[in-house]
């Protein structure tokens, strides 16, 4: 069994952990109430003072924080510290109207690094390893999050970033990469490309992969392992609560150990918002416990999973969450980025030539996952091919720029996206993840 990065907390008796969580929850509540105007008014609206919350159950007296509240406070409205104390800014994604900006103080960054270091250590990645990180570097949290964690465990880090599968394979071969960190879909494409190019996977040195940022299945895991001859592990995180490192599998592969010393997690019925019994599926709701710059109380993730607090063979006492089984809302996760149809719709509305209906299609292509946006044409005077092509290019350019994502646009005739039973779903995922 691999080493444990931070045994003092990762193997802490659960009763002890409860006290630690409670102390941190209280201080987070007190800071949110004092320093975040949004939470101050939430407390007032529901008629609750911080001292009225005297148990974990009392936390339910506060409403959920939703993605919408984050959008409304764009960019810095929910920061609990002045900007001069923030040393890093990342973002969930880059639409002009709707991103979430996440700030970190230097303590926040240290915690983040520690969390990802736990994930790497838990799957046996350490100073002997050459880690190839193919999460995108930039505003999204994947690249930098995994990067500093890998450096902290002493690995040699290749910040290759996302993109070009053949280049990834070349680096993997030449640099004798031993460990991968990236999205499972990208890893799958690498494996398939290897097969297609008729390269021998035994010529690679890679032995382990830590994947995440999108839901994937056991079948995909087996496929990646078969193609790349490595052991694949799942990890979880989301930008709003700080990025990767929130939870990761250990070598037992029986659930993802949650960093409960930094997050208090509730599992609720997505419809009623009431807690579900342990072990049952529900929506994950996170309260950050140590965030200085961007604390969140009861943030609804839209991710559905279950929780297990029984002891794990690895010795960690931290609860384990299942894989993400599904989403509660409409989101297409592509290249690790969550794209909501509403956001696309908002961009399209700025174009009078475009109709009401559109559809996001996720599919696999040679170079990785691709997003195609089908857009119904509206009332157009000039139906020449030239002008339609110009419209298509403008849409593509606009969506690319605002979503920060490679994609293609296809114009379709009016009523194409309406079937006999009404409008077709706004998302169609053709990938076999």
């Amino acid at each position: 069994m691999s080493a444990i990065w931070n045994p003092a907390v990762e193997t802490m008796p659960r009763e002890e952990l409860r006290q630690l969580q409670w102390e941190r929850l209280q201080s987070t509540i007190n800071r949110c109430y004092r320093y975040v105007a949004y939470y101050g008014s939430v407390f007032n609206e529901v008629g609750v003072q911080p001292e009225d919350l005297q148990s974990f159950d009392d936390l339910r007296r506060l409403p959920f924080t939703t993605k919408q509240s984050l959008r409304d406070s764009y960019p810095y409205g929910m920061f609990a510290v002045p900007l001069r104390e923030v040393v890093r800014l990342q973002s969930s994604y880059g639409t002009t109207g709707h991103p979430t900006v996440v700030g970190y103080t230097s303590n926040d960054l240290d915690h983040w690094t520690d969390l990802v270091a736990r994930s790497f250590t838990g799957v046996g990645i350490g100073k002997e390893d050459v880690v190839q990180i193919f999460f995108g570097y930039g505003l999204f949290t994947g690249g930098f999050g995994f990067h500093y964690g890998a450096e902290a465990v002493g690995a040699a880090v290749i910040p290759v970033s996302s993109g070009d599968v053949e280049r990834q394979l070349r680096v993997m071969q030449d640099f004798r990469t031993t460990a991968l960190a990236g999205t499972p879909s990208h890893a799958l494409h690498m494996g398939r490309m290897l097969e297609k190019l008729d390269l021998d996977p035994h010529s690679l040195s890679v032995r382990v992969g830590l994947f995440g940022a999108e839901p994937w299945s056991e079948n995909t895991r087996e496929e990646i392992e078969r193609l790349l001859l490595l052991t694949a592990y799942d990890s979880y995180g989301l930008a709003e609560i700080g990025g990767p490192g929130v939870s990761a599998e250990c070598e037992c592969r029986c659930g993802l150990h949650l960093a409960e010393d930094h997050f208090y997690v509730e599992v609720v019925d997505p419809d009623s918002g009431e807690p579900v019994p342990e072990g049952e599926l529900g929506e994950l709701v996170f309260t950050t416990l140590t965030k200085e710059a961007f604390p969140l109380l009861r943030y609804r993730t839209g991710d559905v999973a279950s929780l297990d607090t029984s002891p794990c063979a690895c010795g960690r006492t931290l609860a384990r969450m299942s894989r993400i089984k599904r989403r509660t809302d409409e989101v297409l996760i592509i290249q690790g980025i969550r794209v909501a149809p509403d956001d696309v719709g908002e961009i399209l509305r700025a174009f009078p030539e475009v109709g009401e209906a559109y559809q996001l299609v996720g599919r696999e292509e040679g170079q990785g996952d691709a997003l195609e946006v089908l857009v119904e044409v509206g009332v157009i005077q000039d139906l020449s091919l030239q002008s339609l092509e110009r419209l298509r290019e403008r849409l593509e350019e606009n969506l690319r720029r605002t979503l920060g994502l490679e994609l293609t646009v296809r114009l379709v005739e009016p009523q194409t996206l309406h079937g006999p039973a009404g409008r077709q779903p706004r998302i169609r995922d053709e990938r076999a993840l």
Binding site: P13, E15, E16, Q19, L20, W22, E23, R24, Q26, S27, N30, R31, R34, P50, E51, L53, Q54, S55, V81, R84, E85, T105, S106, N107, D110, T290, E292
Partner: protein, 249 residues
């Protein structure tokens, strides 16, 4: 942590009222065996109130306090002392007319009654060894000692009870910087001997330097907690309690 995996001291949502004024609005904290934990904050934040609540000097309206799992809530001060918690109060409160030696022996009165004479004598020698200045003045009236010496005497007297937990309330108050330094060095030295300490100090910088962890109190609430080095890096802490202004931090 104690052998059974629990913190030595644990407070959970402790609330204290002075008449209708709520002085502690649900304070939670823990101290593990062998740790030095600092409580910091401005005047009136609730630091001394927290210590007095632990000692049974101030009644607690709600919440839980335990010493290694045993409830402290509602106990009288003498019962708390018997469980192994000793407070060095702000202002020292030594007996000025008595000699240094007698003051020290006074700290072990419970143990003398329990007929631990030999062990007490041993401790007396050990503590006089720790504080050479007390050794030198062992037969002088305590009231004739300087402020810093009296503070050392107060700490030494508390240690004579062999406390499982030592509560120090503003041990450097009113002392010249050099002496304050010396006192805190002594506190740091106590950790090396395995003494567990909950320290309240107006000198935030100095106390966080000797402590393992800290809690920052504001108007009866904990607003920050964590390892001392993290608290020292938090600019709120720096600004509010280290007297630095915006340009410096």
């Amino acid at each position: 942590m104690t052998p059974d995996g629990r913190s030595l001291l644990r407070l959970s949502s402790v609330r204290v009222f002075y008449d209708s004024v709520e002085a502690l609005k649900g304070v939670s904290l823990h101290v593990n065996e062998g740790e030095i934990v600092a409580l910091v904050g401005a005047n009136g934040a609730g630091k001394s109130t927290t210590l007095n609540a632990i000692c049974g000097l101030t009644p607690v309206r709600a919440g839980e306090m335990t010493l290694q799992g045993q409830s402290l809530t509602g106990l009288r001060p003498d019962q708390v002392v018997r469980l192994g918690i000793t407070q060095v109060p702000e202002g020292r409160q030594i007996v000025g007319e008595m000699t240094v030696l007698d003051n020290l022996v006074l700290g072990a009165y419970l143990r003398l009654r329990a007929r631990e004479k030999a062990a007490v004598r041993e401790d007396l020698e050990r503590i006089l060894g720790m504080f050479p200045i007390l050794q030198e003045r062992r037969n002088q009236a305590a009231g004739n000692l300087s402020g810093g010496e009296q503070q050392m005497l107060a700490v030494g007297r508390a240690l004579m009870a062999r406390p499982r937990l030592l509560l120090l309330d503003e041990p450097t108050i009113g002392l010249a910087p050099r002496l304050a330094h010396q006192i805190l060095d002594t506190v740091a030295g106590l950790r090396a001997q395995g003494t567990t300490i909950l320290l309240v100090e107006q000198n935030v910088l100095a106390s966080l330097r000797v402590a393992d962890r800290g809690y920052v109190l504001e108007t009866g609430r904990v607003v920050l907690e964590g390892p001392s080095d993290e608290l020292l890096r938090n600019r709120d802490v720096q600004r509010a309690y280290l007297g630095k202004d915006y340009e410096e931090v």
